[in-house]
Amino acid sequence: MIKDTLLVLFALAGAPLLGGFMAGIDRRITARLQARFGPPIMQPFYDVAKLFGKQMIVPNSWQVFCAYVYLVGAVLSVVLFFLQSDLLLIFFVQAVGAVFLVLGGMAVPSPYAQVGAQRELIQVLTYEPLLILVFVTIYSVTGSFKISAIYAHEAPLLKELPLIFIVLTYALTIKLRKSPFDFSTSHHGHQEIVKGVLTEHSGPILGLIEVGHWYETVLILGLCALFWATSPVGMIILITATYFAELIVDNAMARMTWRWMLGYVWSVGLAMSVINIIWLYAK
């Protein structure tokens, strides 16, 4: 019970710190890759604090509602993750956040936000089946959807599910909105639809979304870490390597279209899942 309480507290307080910190490192490394110096590591925290200090302007009250629910969904999914509950449950709870992010974007008749929201929907459409397949294959290895079963499993999942891990990183790239999949909104300055789904969010409301995004980052990196759950060092190595690869891809790739994404990620993702599963049964 005490352990659980501590875990919940850590999830509530630690996850955003970790997520913000990751975002800071992200910006720093990205800058370095572009031969720039980059902002301080603390920059994401400054940004969010500033946003909370700004005047509140919104297009309507529904957007405020959506932003809060998005945050609640993201936080709850991280808490469930730390409590080692059911993977599918975690996934569905984060879907609450995802849908309300879209609804918040669609709340405004603005064309930029609308297009962004539609693209966000396509992004969800692309990664959702892959994530479910990842969880199902994890189940077929560990015999349970619970995260605790992964810890109980003696070999790292990576050994048995290498291709599934790659499928997961596709979902990760989409979820983190990195190139080539950053068309609903991007973390870089300009894009063709202003700031996509987040165009109409501003000030404190944008701050909420940003914090929610930190939680989501932690969740998705945590999922990656599960593939080497046998050793803490392994987890850290895996996260670091994945995240770094993510950044390289982000900087080396151009933004593609959603049609390409849907076709490419579904076909490659499904193919890799099937190959991995056949290999699993053949062994």
Binding site: S61, V99, Y112
Partner: protein
Amino acid sequence: MPSLLLFMCILVPIIAGVLCYLVRIGFARTLTVLVTGAVLTAGSLMLLGHGTFTYVPPSPWAGLVNTAITLADFALLAIMFGIARKHRSKLIMTLVVLQAVPLLFFELFMVDHGAPAPGFYGDNLSLIITLLVSIVGSLICVFALPYMQKHEAHLHLKRSRQPQFFFLLLIFLGAMNGLALSNNIAWLYFFFEVTTFCSFMLIGHDGTPIAVKNALRALWMNSLGGVAFVFGMIGAHHIAGTTDIQQIIASGPMGGALLVPLALLCLAGFTKSAQVPFQSWLLGAMVAPTPVSALLHSSTMVKAGVYVIFRFAPTFAGTFFSQGLAIVGSFTFLVTIALALGQRNGKKILAYSTISNLGLIIACAGINTPTALAAGILLIIFHAISKALLFLCVGTIEQEIGSRDIEDMRGLFAVKPRIAVITVIGIMTMLLPPFGVLISKWMAIEAASNNLPAVGMIAMGSALGFVVWGRWAGILMSASYKKGLKPEPMSAFVNGPLSVLAGGAVLFSLVLPWIYSLLVKPMLAFAPYQVHFGSLDSSIGGFTVIPIFLILAAGFVYALKQAQKTRARHVAPMYMSGVHSGGPDDETFRGPMNKIVQIETGNYYLTRLFGEERLTFWVNNVAVALLVLMMGGAL
């Protein structure tokens, strides 16, 4: 005791229907419908309280009922034949003859009329169906009262056709209850045919050429199901030697012999549940007035099909046929929701989503483990509530704004906030945790996780569903800020059913663990989930229903509180590159030559990928191939 309750559930609606037909006074009709609704609700609840029962009417009555039903059977077939002749449909005539002749043979030469006829049987499955039919169905009938008035005012009819409409509606409810509760397969067939007939009449109610065409399509497809049913029934009787459904089930599980008749019965269920390739009749059904679509799609007609499949599911557990059922079901789940994605007609989206969910329910029956069956039954319950709600919402919206195109519902919140919010609630209950439909879907995925093709299709289907529902909810709320927005007035007969259904969809999700342990668990071979602290838990997974419900509810309330703090001074117009014109609630910009241009936005419908005309051909062909494979597996 059961005799009275059975009377309340089956005969009262039929008598009330006749009353509606004969007494052509609006007020009397309203009263009849309300009283029938109350009686049905009370009857079904008391029946539930009574628990599992077997009831055979005392000796002279049992035979009389049996004879009456048999005679009614042939009368019904004769009427259908007449209809077919009137419309010069050779196909339907053939199908009716194909039912009538074997049925005559069956009644004359096979059934031992001397033996005591089986009567009624109620276990939790049939009680759940009865409950849904009685309560959700009654709510829809109540909703239909003001709806039909408006509908007819719109059509400028000389002579009201409402008596006939409510006659059919109420008979439909009685027939559905009869279908769920009878233990005699011949009676089951009779009620099955009554629902076919009623749905034909109701779809064609408006009498427009398109309505007649679609009604005839519904009739021939369901008659095909009827033919399958007759042959399945004869086969089952031939092997099990009885018309008693419980005994037929008890004589299973057996691999070969009984499988063919069972497969035929399942095929009948497929047509009734409008599974691909039989989906077109249900899509056509939406030409009927909205209460009909709500009734056909949510609690009744289509649920009759899955009821039959679930009833016989234990007998074919573990067979190749069962696996085929799982694949066909999940295929339907995937392709029909993909078809929904290409649609902008609100009713069509709902229709496709209904077929899709029924596909998932059938897939659960095919997987046939206790977990899967639990998922299927929960889905039957929660889908009925949410879908009835959504249909009534679309009907209300259609009467308010004169369109069922979801693009026309853009920004409905700023015009009709009440119905917009109720619709969004309905959509959320279809899509998100902690609501029942999603929890059943979660259970279904966990149950399907050993069947890779099935789980893959379910995963993709649920992602497509996310887009379908997400964009619709988004459209409804896509409105600029309006100061002092007040909920629009609504008649009590509209508001009542909507509120009850919306409240039910939410609250029943909260008590889902108890629904599971009280209603669903006793039906299963073993309990897949333990319930403690309001959570469903097993070794392969767990869903903390109540805690998540409470936390999310608290989050919702807090978010609502924050949103309510919004004042006009917070509101700024949208960003339009600095050329936005007018105030915050204007959706215009200053274009070339200083012209004011209205902003227009639209959803992605991906018609190039998921368009109806593009996909349907392939879907139907694959579905036929899969069906043939599945039936072949039974042989």
